[in-house]
């Protein structure tokens, strides 16, 4: 029973992260939501008795895909409908 509740919680978390990744205007948060999807997917693979795939999804899906997305955002534009150069990331930090 607990097992079932946990799986349903994870599924809802994953679908929520997917919708958030699509709707969010700020690309950095959208990319982090993609990382969350991969994280939940790793847990689901572990529950479906697939340890190899969970390890791969964790190593590639969470770590490297998120990093490559963030580096791309670093080199292009942060907000979705934004035209100017990328110095807004620095301004957002200060």
């Amino acid at each position: 029973m607990i097992y079932l509740i946990l799986v349903f919680f994870l599924l809802l978390l994953m679908l929520g992260a997917a919708v958030y990744a699509i709707v969010q205007k700020d690309l950095l948060y959208a990319v982090i939501a993609t990382g969350v999807i991969s994280l939940v997917l790793t847990a689901l693979f572990y529950m479906l008795q697939a340890p190899d795939v969970a390890l791969t999804e964790a190593a590639i899906g969470v770590a490297l895909t998120t990093i490559i997305f963030i580096i791309t955002i670093r080199n292009t534009v942060r907000h979705e409908d934004d035209y100017n150069k990328k110095d807004d990331l620095k301004s957002a930090i200060e």
Binding site: D52, L55, L64, I67, I71, T72, N75
Partner: protein, 231 residues
């Protein structure tokens, strides 16, 4: 208007996918004597490898993995080609601001541990879950950590392409060696030790360690190319 058509199309696609996969059944054996039963029997009897998935990936369907490694090699080369800039104005690292002292000291501590974990994962590919792809990626994340923490930490492209090319050449060479005593391409020509000890499974751990090196070198090169992109 365009959104409405797309949503309509997605609804139709979702309906068909849903009916197919719900009627497909979940968790019950759907076919009587499939390929998996042969794999499950023969990983232990003929190959003495504990991890069935590793034996499928490297020995039963080894040709897939050769194609797989080529896909990664092509992606790394394509990235170098698409983002190619003249030698003299390679941008400095596109890291916005120097890493804080916590990150710098932490990563100096963590770097050897992450590399050790990665190497452990791809050496024990045929015993425990994990293998060439997973271990190589973990090693690449270790290098990534150092690249982000230290501006002056550089990875020389020559060494990376050496490791990448040598691992690839040895992989194909082992495949060709399979022909020697009348066998076929990628055949397991080494003795297959006893189950669950480090040197079991003949050629399989050697191939998976080579894949681990190749994936580690490739992904580090890939990240290095994308990271040094500041125009």
């Amino acid at each position: 208007m365009k959104k409405f058509i797309v949503i309509l199309m997605l609804a139709v696609l979702g309906y068909y996918l849903g009916t197919t996969f719900y009627s497909l059944g979940f968790g019950d054996a759907r076919f009587e004597h499939g390929v998996k039963d042969y794999y499950l029997e023969n990983t232990v009897s003929q190959l003495n490898v504990a991890n069935t998935i590793t034996s499928i990936i490297v020995s039963f369907r080894g040709f897939d993995t050769l194609g797989e490694v080529t896909v990664l090699f092509l992606a790394a080369t394509a990235l170098g080609g698409i983002l190619y800039k003249k030698r003299h104005h390679i941008g400095d690292r596109s890291v916005l601001f120097p890493a804080s002292s916590i990150v710098r000291s932490g990563s100096k501590l963590l770097f050897p541990a992450v590399i050790l974990l990665g190497v452990y994962v791809f050496i024990h590919g045929h015993l425990s879950p994990g293998g060439g792809f997973q271990g190589g990626t973990i090693v690449a994340t270790g290098f990534l950590l150092m690249l982000l923490a230290y501006q002056d930490f550089t990875v020389s492209h020559h060494i990376l392409s050496f490791v990448e090319s040598f691992a690839g050449i040895f992989f194909v060479a082992i495949g060709l060696l399979g022909f020697i005593n009348g066998g076929t391409f990628l055949q397991n020509f080494m003795p297959v030790g006893t189950l669950n000890d480090l040197f079991s499974g003949g050629v399989i751990p050697i191939i998976y360690i080579l894949v681990g090196f190749k994936v580690a070198a490739e992904l580090t090169g890939l990240i290095y190319t994308v990271l040094n992109e500041k125009d």
